[in-house]
Symmetry: C2
Subunit: 248 residues, 2 copies
Amino acid sequence: MRNADLEEIRALSLFRDLSEEHFAALTRGAYHQSFPPQVTLIEEGQQADFLHVVTEGAVELYAGWNGRETTMAVVRPISTFILAACITDAPYLMSARTLMPSRVALIPGSDLRAAFAQDVAFAQAILRELAECYRGVVRHAKGLKLRASRERLAAYLLRQSGAGGGAVFDLQIEKRLLASYLGMTPENLSRSIRSLRDAGVSVEGQRVTISNRAALVAIAQPTELLDGPACRGAAEDGAPTQRRFAGH
Amino acid sequence: MRNADLEEIRALSLFRDLSEEHFAALTRGAYHQSFPPQVTLIEEGQQADFLHVVTEGAVELYAGWNGRETTMAVVRPISTFILAACITDAPYLMSARTLMPSRVALIPGSDLRAAFAQDVAFAQAILRELAECYRGVVRHAKGLKLRASRERLAAYLLRQSGAGGGAVFDLQIEKRLLASYLGMTPENLSRSIRSLRDAGVSVEGQRVTISNRAALVAIAQPTELLDGPACRGAAEDGAPTQRRFAGH
DNA sequence: TTCGGGGCTTGATCCAGGTCAAGTTTTGGA
DNA sequence: TCCAAAACTTGACCTGGATCAAGCCCCGAA
């Protein structure tokens, strides 16, 4: 692995408190690979052998059943995924595929469990990371059950725009993917977007403009309990070393 | 706390590997209280001070937004809840209320974190427990997004009936609650139940009879990735010291 | 034993959102 | 640069499930 990559991974809250020695041990057995877009990295049901860390690009987590398919999250650098399956040594509950050319570090689950047993600070970091993942899915599920699709879209746009001004930003994601993530069809997303026009939202291609934040807030009624803390204050103080794009 | 209660809690996979000393330290600061039905134990948004362990009765985890409300899970003895909020010392994402006269043990979060730091085996147990919770919510979310309501009901009934024969069993839960858990209205649940009659399902009051398991399976298409491992084999070998009734 | 209230069912109706079918635009590759 | 495939939009239509409104049943309290 390149030094620059190592440093980026090291900066993750997950690895920040890990001793130099243990970190070296972890990364010794790790791979760091580049993948073209649309490559399936893991498939649900498979055994979990590696913790994955996206260092470049974007990875979609999705699940299928009976011919249907839905996007559960989009993971962006630098963050990890499938920690839970790795820890319990259980089959993945979600598949993962690259959305663009991406680089992913693969850390053997056995090494992970070994480091966990030897380093209390690391154990705490893992636990915190997992707890945050858990809370992310809970929020996602709550949103699905409590909000209508238009409300989910409004909330999503507010989250993406960041708490600050951020009246203009890019979607960073294909609309069909966003639709799937929000639990609706592309057609319905299209219509929902139009229906937000009179709330001052305009979407042209990937570019989103929010001209009346208050109106959008009135629709989405964002809460920390549903939209996460990221929505709260203006730009966070510390370097946001870890971002999860669409949920989690 | 009564000795019998202590032993039951001790038998949880969460505490099984904890040293006698650390377990004593944990339970020294713990309360064990009885509550009548319909008592709110915790409210979403509050700070998480105690890990909760249901030892008798049943507790509903639910979430509200904008006047709406949905039940996320029903926790039955002996199992824990709100572990994640406790660990991250973050606000609860779900409220909890008793559904019947219940007893709940409250273990201070600070003690929990202390024990975590001192006992690697305990740390691993906590991590496993949390990972299982995470996977539970992921399954719940997948079900909501991938299955239609009738399919969710069919899958739920199969899960409840247990993998074995179990052609007759009790719902153990009010139907309005089940409806909310499955993400539908009571009216729609009623109709969905009727619509499963020609799949050999009859529900009279709380009593459910499944006379054509194959037909139900054809509708629900149960998968381990959606319905959990509990659905797999016949009665598990070890004592099922920990059960989560409706999901998680 | 009666009464009242909540849970459950059933029917009628409505609507959010899915499906189907064209277009239109964008994108990526030769 | 052009072409083909895919993404996106729009309209028409349909349907799963919500809502509204009774009525029923069961259970618990007086």
